[in-house]
């Protein structure tokens, strides 16, 4: 008598039930269409991406700070922060800089292109826990992109927050993103401060380091009050968030109320490829959003 083994199979399912634990969905991506493309600067464009299946679209929900993996078949797949409102189930907005192979290809595509979307992945900014607080949103460069989803959340629930400040630094005025929204933000009673490293002939705003404005904002706040009633989100290059978090740390603001979003190379978004590890922490699972205390405990973080 011989012992013939039978093949057990894991079927790759077609329908999406949003069960992230279901093994068959590992390689599943929603087919989505780029419905609109707005150039924002010379290198960055805003892409509106709509999941084609209406049920899947309605079922897709995310929290501010989470990211998706965007796939261009045959070209590549990469992580991008969702930059739109978490409560609107329309198109997802991704603001993408042409930086490498796939993003440059994307830069040349037009409306109607079909892409794959999987996710959402990763941790988020706990905007609900921040209710009742004054909110400091600090962005350097492309850092305004992951910050835009929490900005939208705060705007949509404006009455639940105290004073809201957005402080945004960019290299030059032509690098500024989302210019068309500044007036709207201000109308929602948000203090918007923008500073550039280098002005141009039309620039009338401040020129210098973002840290100057942050120091002034902190000094304005009356002592103890600040550290007891503020939550901060800091997004930008590592040097910037390091400086900024140290300034905030000096005010006595608890590190658990300061949040950053970290970027690493990613090939899966699902804790399997190891490319995103910081020390031995998976940025795609334990991040990209970390509180500052966690960052201080990550070897290799800064």
């Amino acid at each position: 008598m011989t012992h013939k083994l039978t093949t057990k199979s894991i079927s790759s399912k077609k329908g999406y039930t949003a069960k992230e634990q279901d093994i068959a969905f590992f390689e599943y991506s929603h087919k989505a269409e780029i419905t609109n493309i707005y150039p924002l600067t010379a290198n960055e464009k805003l892409y509106q991406v709509q999941i084609i299946d209406p049920d899947d679209r309605a079922a897709f929900s995310f929290k501010p700070g989470q990211f998706v993996m965007l796939e261009l078949p045959g070209i590549g797949e990469a992580p991008f922060s969702i930059s739109s409102s978490p409560t609107r189930h329309g198109a997802l907005e991704l603001c993408i800089r042409a930086a490498g192979n796939m993003t440059n290809f994307l830069d040349r595509t037009s409306r109607g292109t079909k892409v794959g979307i999987s996710g959402p992945f990763g941790t988020s900014f706990p905007v609900e826990d921040m209710e009742g607080d004054d909110i400091l949103l600090l962005a350097g460069g492309l850092g305004i992109v992951p910050l835009r989803a929490p900005i939208m959340s705060v705007l949509e629930n404006r009455s639940r927050y105290g004073r809201v400040d957005i402080i945004y630094g960019a290299k030059t005025p032509s690098d500024l993103l989302f210019k068309y929204q500044y007036e709207m933000w201000k109308q929602f009673d948000i203090n918007l401060d923008i500073i550039v490293d280098k002005g141009d002939s039309e620039w009338t705003g401040p020129v210098g380091m973002i840290t100057e404005i942050i120091k002034r904002r902190v000094a304005e706040a009356s002592g103890d009050d600040f550290k007891h009633r503020t939550s901060a989100i800091v997004c930008g290059p590592p040097v910037m968030f390091n400086f900024v978090c140290e300034i905030l740390n000096h005010t006595g603001l608890p590190m658990e109320k300061m949040f950053v979003s970290l970027e690493r190379r990613m090939h899966c978004g699902r804790g399997k490829c190891c490319r995103c590890n910081i020390g031995s922490t998976y940025t795609c699972l334990k991040g990209p959003v970390f509180d500052y205390w966690s960052v201080l405990n990550l070897q290799e973080a800064i």
Partner: protein, 348 residues
């Protein structure tokens, strides 16, 4: 646990019972430059090719559930639309015949991160769940330090584990499939004498390890010595070739690459096992590299295996098989690296 005994000569009958399936086992791959026989796991059709008394294989058995190269999905283009087809790549069951304890334990470790965690990986799982594994006892080699890593014995992860006691096999029966197989052999229930022989054999083996690693408080020590000079010294020797990860039974990191066919009608998404020692492992678009120097990458490999994985799963991502040290052209071995890091900066 159920134990059985059968005559060692009947291993061939066991092989024959399973031979309708694809059997993977240790076979000879010629001699190395010092005249020692080299072994590797491969497809075995003829029992006489099976080298069951092998020392160690060059590669581990991970390639049968974690291939070095895998086509994860294909796309077909029609007009401006496309369809994605995903193939988890489990086309036939495999019998792994003669795995040593460390290699069985390496699969158990991979299961923890690839199957028993969030987003289980179906490419691995589909192949992994289609394996029948027969373990076999081994003789500790000079590079082996599995005893220090707690992987020198098998508690789970195989169907059957065989320990050679002279002319007989002592069989640990881990599954009903294995139980049914043994029903076809001339088995007997081990008695007190057999138990004594088994104990004597495992004691002798335990005493014959010559290589050790001190893992006590290692997670803390790795944190304390993160900035230690010794890493730089190892980094200067490391060639950043990635060989260690290729032969390692527990390394699983990878890269994804997509390619369009010449006629633009089809594209594939390929997964290639990678190595954290390769220079662009953590390089991002625009050219920034989070680990530009070789010592930071080498350190990361140790850090992931002996700290991060321990933190997550209470065990190291290393079986102590010693393959990485044996294959490394620069002669970098785990016991030496860890001893030097434990020694602290002044000893280096």
């Amino acid at each position: 646990m159920i134990f059985k005994m059968f005559p060692a000569a009947e291993l061939e009958d066991l092989f024959a019972l399973l031979a309708v399936n694809r059997i993977i086992g240790p076979i000879s791959k010629g001699l190395n430059k010092d005249g020692h026989e080299l072994f590797d796991f491969d497809h075995v059709t003829d029992f006489s090719h099976l080298k069951i008394a092998y020392t160690q294989t060059i590669h581990s058995a991970k390639k049968f559930c974690l291939p070095h190269h895998e086509e994860t999905s294909t796309f077909t283009f029609t007009g401006d639309d496309w369809q994605k087809e995903v193939d988890f790549g489990a086309h036939q069951p495999l019998v792994l015949f003669g795995l040593h304890p460390c290699d069985i334990n390496s699969l158990n470790k991979l299961d923890k991160v690839l199957m028993d965690s969030i987003y289980p990986n179906p490419f691995y799982g589909a192949k992994r769940q289609n394996m029948l594994i027969i373990g076999h006892s081994c003789t500790p080699q000079p590079a082996c330090f599995c005893q220090s890593m707690g992987t020198d014995t098998v508690l789970a992860g195989c169907d059957l584990f065989l320990t050679l006691l002279g002319d007989d096999y002592f069989a640990e029966v881990h599954s009903s499939r294995a139980y049914h197989l043994l029903e076809q052999l001339d088995c007997w229930e081990p008695g007190a004498k057999d138990h004594a022989r088994f104990r004597a054999s495992i004691e002798k083996r335990s005493d014959s390890f010559t290589n050790t690693v001190d893992t006590s408080d290692l997670t803390k020590i790795l944190d304390m010595e993160f900035a230690s000079q010794v890493w730089q010294q190892w980094g200067e020797r490391c060639l950043s070739c990635g060989t260690c990860a290729q032969v390692c039974p527990t390394c699983y990191c990878y890269g994804i690459e997509e390619k369009v066919d010449m006629d633009l009608s089809r594209a594939v998404k390929n997964k290639q096992l990678y190595s954290c020692n390769l220079i662009d492992f953590a390089e991002v678009a625009g050219g920034h590299n989070f680990r530009p120097e070789s010592h930071t990458r080498l350190k990361y490999r140790y850090y992931h295996k002996h700290r991060g994985f321990v933190e997550a799963f209470e065990e190291a991502l290393c079986t102590g098989c010693g393959r990485c040290g044996t294959s490394c052209l620069a002669g970098i071995t785990v016991p030496e690296v860890i001893a030097s890091v434990r020694g602290g900066s002044h000893d280096a």
